[in-house]
Amino acid sequence: MYKILRKQTLNEQVKLMEIEAPLIAKKAKAGQFIILRVHENGERIPLTISDYDAAKGTITIIFQEVGKTTMLLGTLEEGDSLQDFVGPLGKASHFPEDIKKAAIIGGGLGTAIAYPQAKELHRLGVEVTSIAGFRNKDLVLLEKELHEVSDKVIITTDDGSNGNKGFVTDALKNEIESGENFDLVIAIGPLIMMKFVSQLTKQYGIKTIVSMNSIMIDGTGMCGGCRVTVAGETKFACVDGPDFDGHEVDFDQAMRRQGMYKEPESEACNLFKGVE
């Protein structure tokens, strides 16, 4: 059993948990993920390793309550345990050599997924600009943490409630046009956001890495459910990714595939809320 050592509410939908998992903590690297099951009859869901502490033997996850499993997970408290916790899965982020300046773009919850990458690049001595976008100022995540690992932080909100209205793509475009020479852009968030960031950076010829959050079951390359088309070839997000070249990904197909279980998902969600 995998014990919850720390729980923190980051905003009304997003929670952080530090989980006891010493073996995984020993091997984890930025860009990898775990798969968990909350209880015996539960679904296997993937979550990014948001932070890891090999000495303490812990893995930090940050998750948004969007459906039955994440809501159920959110009801657990410190001292409770998870049924299963598997990892570290996926390939660790691999950054091209000679990167001097990078922009890390996080969309909503994607900010939490992008954070370990910002941290890793910062550790490697890369100049990091973090751009994170949220719907409104109450949803802003990890602002302090981003400042610690970035040379510049730009937080945008869709409604302008933090005084900086706009989308992350606008902010990124601004930076580029005002003369910032990024060698690398990492974009993590909703598929539609990653699609538009990739379209933008393609115009400027800036290498762009995105993280594909396909629907997964095993996370070991066995089910093929997580397949994405990259440069015309079928890849499995769990073992070939989750990071891919944003200029090569077929986002439209990925968006269609992500909606595949919409109906049963919302049914499960309603059943769960009904029980509450």
């Binding site: 995984i24 089910c223 093929g224 197909q253 269609r256």
Partner: protein, 463 residues
């Protein structure tokens, strides 16, 4: 005087119409009277040809004689001398190509129903609560097993019997491999698989689940942890696709995804279990093996109105067990033979709407000895569907191989081993089952696990 009844004693089954809509076991098993009647059909041949057909050399006439005398527990013990998973093998082994193919009774009439008798005494003994074999891990040697399918379980059991301290590492949250995630409940009840696994645990074998080896631990880590020998039984889990247009539409599954959702994650019991499975109306399953039959029969049980098997050769070439083909037909699965998919059709929204197939004819035999299917030009036509399950084969999972550069493998992914011992290119590391052979059978995986256990024991005890 043996019973000269020409046909195998029939085994009671659920009515096809009824069972096609539930996940309960199809074949119900012999009663004691039926088992004894069938056991009496055995001639007790001196030269025992049937035994040669059994990859783990079960003493077939001996156990059958015990059943004939009503000594069912003793019969089970007799089987267990060489086979640790009789309740499973009795259900899923391709007996018609193995022991029963060589049975002397089979020359003129139907062979003795060896598989059904094996199942009978295993079920009898399990229901009676037989004592597990005991082991005390007294040898002072540690072995690690990677993967808990039939290959890994058998290797573990044979080592534990000899006093080795065995730990199994399994990637999934539950042990059993294909027995748990692939073969459906109606053919192999999961509680039964679990019972066989529990008896290993009773013997002292430790099972660590949620351990994706090659990611969380690698061979060097295991050696550092004091495991003197390591057995890799990671199976053939990597699904093949057809590489035709439309394969990523919503509603196209690999057989692994489809069967894992249903069997391992109990999707058919959704929402009691959280993992959803979509209940499609018209489903095509591409392939002709056991996996294809299982996927088709699962689709039917989920409530499909029409389920097709699409296979590019004729029924004679189908690799599935005869019994499964018969059962599938009885349940109303339609066989579209000599047909090959060329494209999957979909809607604007990306959902499957159909499949375009081309008719095939059989040409000259190919390397596999089966007649090669050749497309008939211009014979394409479309079938309306809302789901396609691709069951055209699996290859070994790349995780261990990627994490272990010294491990020699074939270009198609299979681990290269010494055939007799299962020894790999790394000292102290052995492998067997589907990870070596590619997708094969439960009993062959078990045979490989046994052979490796023997070699591992020799390796650990040699001076």
């Amino acid at each position: 005087m043996p019973n000269m009844q020409k046909e195998k004693t029939k085994m009671p089954e659920q009515e096809p119409k009824v069972r096609a809509r539930n996940f309960e076991e199809v074949a119900l098993g012999y009663t004691e009277e039926m088992a004894i009647n069938e056991a009496n059909r055995c001639l007790q041949c001196k030269h025992q040809p049937c035994v040669k057909g059994c990859p783990v050399m079960i003493q077939i006439p001996d156990f059958i004689a015990l059943i004939a005398q009503g000594k069912h527990i003793e019969a089970y013990e007799k089987i267990r001398e060489t086979n640790g998973l009789p309740a499973i093998c009795g259900r899923v082994c391709p007996q018609e190509e193995q022991c029963e193919m060589l049975c002397v009774r089979g020359i003129k009439d139907e062979p003795v129903a060896i598989g059904r008798l094996e199942r009978y005494c295993a079920d009898y003994a399990i229901a009676a609560g037989v004592e597990p074999l005991t082991c005390k891990c007294t040898l002072g040697k540690k072995a690690a097993i990677i993967g808990s399918g039939p290959a890994g379980l058998t290797c573990a059991a044979d080592l534990a019997k000899e006093g080795v301290d065995v730990t199994i590492f399994e990637a999934f949250h539950t042990p059993g491999g294909v027995l748990k995630y692939g073969i459906p409940e109606f053919r192999l009840p999961k509680s039964l698989v679990q019972k066989e696994i529990d008896s290993l645990v009773d013997m002292g074998v430790k099972i660590e689940t949620n351990m994706v080896m090659g990611k969380i631990l690698d061979i060097d880590d295991l050696k550092e942890m004091g495991f003197e020998t390591i057995f890799i039984g990671t199976g053939a889990g990597l699904p093949s696709f057809m590489n035709i247009p439309g394969e990523n539409y919503n509603g196209v599954y690999s057989s692994n995804e489809f069967l894992t959702r249903i069997n391992l994650m109990k999707g058919y019991k959704y929402p009691e279990y959280d993992t959803p499975v979509i209940r499609h109306k018209k489903v095509a399953v591409v392939g002709g093996g056991n996996v294809a039959m299982d996927a088709a029969r699962c689709a039917m049980r989920l409530g499909a109105e029409q389920v097709y098997i699409i296979y590019r050769r004729s029924e004679t070439e189908m690799p599935a067990r005869n019994e499964e083909i018969e059962h599938a037909k009885e349940e109303g699965i339609e066989f579209n033979l000599l047909m090959n998919p060329v494209e999957i059709l979909g809607s604007e929204q990306g959902d499957v709407t159909g499949i375009r197939v081309i008719r095939m004819e059989l040409g000259e035999p190919d390397a596999s000895g089966r007649r090669r299917p050749v497309p008939i030009k211009g014979s394409e036509f479309d079938i309306e569907l809302d789901a396609v399950v691709v069951a055209i084969g699996q290859s070994p999972n790349p995780l261990m191989r990627e994490a272990t550069p010294d491990l020699k493998t074939h270009s198609w992914g299979g681990i290269i081993v010494d055939e007799e011992t299962g020894a790999t290119s790394i000292e102290g590391v052995y492998a067997g089952g589907d990870s070596v052979s590619g997708a094969a059978t439960v009993i062959l995986a078990m045979g490989a696990g046994k052979a490796a256990a023997k070699a591992m024991l020799e390796y650990m005890t040699k001076e």
